[in-house]
Each structure stands twice: as C-alpha cells, then as structure tokens.
C-alpha cells in the first residue's frame, strides 16, 4: 500500500468520524408531557444557549444527543432543556408556603462553582440500566460531573418526564453540595428501615419547618442538635416535587403538577430510612 493510499484511507476514515453524528441516542421521541411543557415556550434559542452554558451540557457526549438539533424534542439535549425549564420557570415562589425558591433549586442545579458546590459539568451517557443519573465527585485533576442516563430520555420509558428530569438535575446537584460541604455523598443501600428501595437508593429525611430556610438560603445547614437543618439528595428532590405539585404558576400544565405529586409521594414513602410525616397534595383525580 502506497503512502498516498494510506493517507487517502486515513482521511476517509477521519471524515467519517468527524461527520455530523446521527441524531440517535437511547429511544428517541417526545411524549405528551414533554410536548405540553415545550408548547409553553416553543423553540427558544436564548433558553437553550443559556441552559447549555449554565448547566454545562458542553462536552462532546452531547454531540450524538441532539446538540446540533437543539429544538428537536425527540432527543436528549432538548429534553434536558425542558427539565431545566421546569426548574427555572414553573414555580410561583410563594414565600409563605414553598419549601424553597426557584433561585435555590436553580442555583444548585446549575454547574458553575457557587455557594452550593464546585464546578461540574453534565454528560449524556447511553446507559440503559436502572439508574436515571449519577454524579462523580472528588475527581483528581478533572472537573466533577453528573451523568444523565437513557432512562430519563427513553420514549415510552417510565422515567421520561420533564418534571422527573428537572428533579433529577436538582437531586444530582445535591451530591455536589454534599461534597463541597464535607459530607458523605453516597446513598445508603436498601431495603433498610422504612426505605423499601434497593441498593444505593435510600437517604435520611431531615424535616425542617416550611419557613426554616429563607428563600436564597437552601445551601446552608445547621448541625446544632436542637436546631438541625439539613438536606439529603432525595429530600431536596422531594421538596422540589412538592413545590411543583402544589405551588406551580397558573399556566403550568396539569400533567406537570400531577407527575410532580406522583413522583414526590412515592419517593416520600419508599426512599427514606426514617418515615416521612407528610404527603403531597390531596388524593383526588385532578
């Protein structure tokens, strides 16, 4: 084989590698919940550019996941934008009743270094196991990261829901909070105590009164034995679910509030080692 042949074949191969990736990942497609949320804002360039940066969906794992087709709701990139929209725009910020504010959840979920955590980025992983996502903290000579898995994107998969995706982003960011503040960031294995979930799916629940955390102060904690104020990842996720279920803005679709209640109540009942002494919302059809 001549040098020219080698060069020609190498160049052809590279051209194939560098050609635009096929927009295929997980099981593509948009369900009614995602469509209902997207219809609130349409194809919004300012939003997807902002989320891309704020949530750091910036590594090349997003190339085959729709980053070059940012408004294609069938693909993980646009679905992640939808999850970020739920975090950033659906809460009413009812100061008297909400667990925490939009700004609290969003600042935690964002990837930049801030009072919640150090810098991290979010990867898309074509992993089809049970876990919806996981976080890597304390990496050596590399940024920490959150890995978002196929279950939260798979069309007709049970976790493919914009509210759930938003709450997963909040949950995973809390592992970064734990790490920054010097707390162990692993979940416990279940079943254990009241937690009926499996391996790596249980947390403690640290109840606090509704007004214990002023808006803008979710990042704080207090280990005073008489005044404990603390959050575990499933707890902050359930509080987000509760706020979306009951205190969403008036324009938010009923599928969003129903799903938030659905996820929140099941988590409260099954993912905490100690029992949680409240339910989210009234158990009625609509």
């Amino acid at each position: 084989m001549s040098l020219r042949d080698i060069v020609a074949k190498s160049l052809t191969g590279l051209a194939l590698v560098l050609a635009p990736h096929q927009a295929l990942s997980c099981v593509d497609g948009a369900n009614a919940q995602d469509t209902a949320v997207r219809n609130l804002y349409g194809c919004w360039r300012d939003l997807y550019l902002w989320v891309w940066q704020a949530y750091q969906l910036t590594d090349d794992s997003w190339n085959p996941a729709g980053i070059s087709d940012a408004c294609n709701l069938a693909l993980p990139f646009a679905k992640t934008i939808n999850g970020a929209f739920v975090i950033g725009y659906t809460l009413s910020d009812n100061h008297d009743r909400q667990w925490h504010s939009t700004d609290d959840y969003e600042t935690s979920a964002r990837a930049a270094s801030n009072q919640y955590h150090g810098p991290f980025y979010q990867r898309f992983i074509q992993y089809n196991g049970n876990a919806e996502a996981d976080s890597e903290v304390g990496r050596v000579a590399a940024r920490d990261r959150t890995n978002l898995h196929c279950p939260i994107f798979n069309l007709r998969g049970p976790s493919d829901d914009p509210v759930n995706r938003g709450s997963v982003l909040v949950h995973e960011s809390w592992h970064h909070w734990q790490h920054k503040h010097g707390f162990k960031s692993d979940h416990m294995d279940g079943p254990r105590g009241a937690c009926t979930a499996g391996a790596g799916a249980c947390d403690w629940f640290y109840f606090h009164r509704v007004g214990r955390f002023e808006f803008g102060q979710l990042d704080r904690y207090d280990l005073d034995p008489n005044n404990l104020a603390f959050h575990s990842p499933y707890q902050v996720q359930s509080e987000f679910d509760a706020d979306v279920a009951e205190l969403a803005k008036s324009f938010v679709p009923v599928s969003v509030t129903q799903q938030a209640r659905f996820y929140g109540n099941a988590r409260l009942a099954t993912q905490f080692v100690n029992r949680v002494a409240y339910r989210i919302g009234d158990p009625r059809p609509w």
């Binding site: 919806e132 009164r209 129903q258 919302g281 609509w286």
Partner: protein, 304 residues
C-alpha cells in the same frame, strides 16, 4: 461523505505535492478532532458562542394556553387523553366539567378500563391521565379492574435492564409501585362500600409500602379525615404504620403553622423516626467550608 477517487492522470498531475498537502491537511484535521473531544459543539451550530459565566437567564413571559378538549366519548378517548395533560392546572375545573359530561356513558368507562389493564405500561404519563379520568367518572364498574390493577402479580412497567454497576450517588425510581399507589387513591375517590373495603384491604395487606400509605391517606381524605375513619384504619394497618394515620398534607391552601406543628409533633412523639446525624467525609478528603448561619424566614414581611 468525503471521497478521494482520482483518475490516474490527475494523480500524476498532482503527484507528491498533493500527498504532502494531504498530510498537512490530515495533521490539521487530527488537531481539530482532538479539540472536538474536549469540548462539544454549540447547540444548533449557530454563531461562535462559547460557554462562559455571567450569561443571564432569559426572561419568560408566561401565557395561559387555551386547550380545547374534545367531547369525551368512546371514540375520542385517545384524543382526549392526549390533550388533557396540557390543560393548565389552574383550569382543572374545565377537565372535571368535561369528564362529568361523559358520566352516563358506560362505553367510555369500558374503553378506559381496557386501556388501564393493557400492560406492560409503556407511557406512565398517559396511564396517570387514564386513572384520573376514571376517578372523576366515579363509576362503580371501575372498582374490580382497579383492584386487579393494584394487586396484579405481574410487573406493570417493563423491568429495566440491570445495566452495569454504577456508584452510589444515583437517582432511582420505582414506577410500578407508584402507579399502584395512584390507582389506590383513585379507588378510594370512587368510593362506595366495595371500593372502601378494597382500600382498607390494600392499606392493611398490600406488599408495596407506597401503595399502603397512599391507601391510608386516600381513605381518610374521602372520609373527611374523621376520627371514625382513623380508628377503623388503626385497627387494620401494620403496627409500624399506625403512626402514619392522619399525617398532614402539604398543599397550596394549607395552614403552614399547623402543618409545621403536626410534623414536628410526629418526630417528638416518635423519636425513633429521627434521622441519623449527617456523616462527614474523612478528614483528609474534607473540603473546608464553614457552615453559614442563617436567619429563619419572616412570614409577615412583604417581599417579591
């Protein structure tokens, strides 16, 4: 796709100079590919924006959409279920009214039940809409199929692949149990002697904790949280779940101080339900951050 087919004449014409250019080109492409591995593309490939701090979140002007629901009939069920989730939650009354117009239509109930019992469930969101619509119809014909759904010994949702092992900073969810729990709430809402008996049995004996707890709460809700209903539940539920009878509901119209007090009292009464102290990282891996003190929320002060 790039192709490199050249005629022999052209090959001779370009000769070695072309090969050198190609090698140079190859080097450039390899450099570019190395860069591409480190940072992904820009969304949609528009402009030259690179991620940076300080970009402001775009403001959103919300507008309540108007979603027209079709008349709910046996023929329009799928269209109805596809659209109903888009209705703003503040307009839930319009859903109730739309469903109420179909209350006398037995064919609607039958079609909904057929869809309810079609498993494995491939669209959880749609199934939640089916359950809510069935609940709003309050037709006793739904009681037995709902019991069948709740007690089914087959998985309702396709089991996910086990996948490779992941670390323990993950997020999981059991949709199967959550769906059965929602069905228990709907059964309780339908009410009547048979439904009530079924809900009590679920509260006492269902293997899923989320289903039992949902049944306890829903039974109370549909019996006006009465003392009699609490006593009835206390007689049948598991001993360790008696303490959950009558726990408060976090909801938009709640009295916050009463809610806080009820939950605080629960943990005082049952100190065994207090959490373990948060675990610290080992000293050598601890990132030193001091806890910041913070004042409590001041409820009376107007803001925002």
């Amino acid at each position: 796709m790039l192709t490199l087919a050249m005629s022999p004449a052209r090959q001779r014409h370009f000769g070695g100079r072309c090969t050198r250019r190609m090698i140079w080109c190859l080097a450039c492409v390899i450099s570019a590919s190395a860069f591409a591995e480190e940072s992904g593309r820009e969304p949609s490939g528009l402009g030259l924006t690179q991620p940076s701090e300080g970009v402001s979140k775009p403001p959103f002007v919300s507008r309540e959409s108007v979603v027209n629901l079709p008349l709910l009939t046996a023929k329009t069920i799928d269209d109805f279920l596809g659209r109903v989730g888009s209705i703003p939650h503040s307009q839930a009354e319009s859903i109730r009214a739309a469903v109420a117009r179909a209350a006398a239509d037995q064919a609607v109930v039958e079609e909904l039940l057929k869809r309810l019992l079609t498993t494995p469930i491939t669209d959880v969101g749609r199934h939640l809409m089916i359950l809510s619509t069935l609940g709003e119809l309050r037709n006793p014909r739904a009681v037995e199929p709902l019991k069948e759904f709740i007690w089914s010994d087959r998985p309702l949702v396709p089991p996910q692949q086990p996948g490779e092992s992941v670390d323990t900073r993950t997020s999981f969810f059991n949709h199967d149990g959550a769906l059965r729990a929602r069905a228990a709430e709907i059964l309780a809402y339908i009410g009547g002697r048979d439904a009530d008996a079924a809900v009590l049995e679920i509260a006492a004996r269902h293997p899923g904790a989320e289903v039992r707890i949902a049944a306890i709460d829903a039974y109370l809700f549909n019996h006006a949280d009465s003392a009699e209903a609490k006593e009835e539940l206390a007689r049948i539920v598991r001993a360790e779940e008696r303490k959950l009878i009558g726990i408060p509901r976090f909801k938009r119209g709640m009295d916050v101080s009463q809610f806080d007090q009820l939950v605080t009292d629960f943990y005082r009464r049952y100190p065994e339900e207090m959490p373990q102290w948060p675990s610290r990282l080992e000293e050598q891996t601890l990132q030193r951050t001091k806890p910041r003190s913070f004042p409590e929320r001041q409820p009376a002060e107007p803001r925002r």
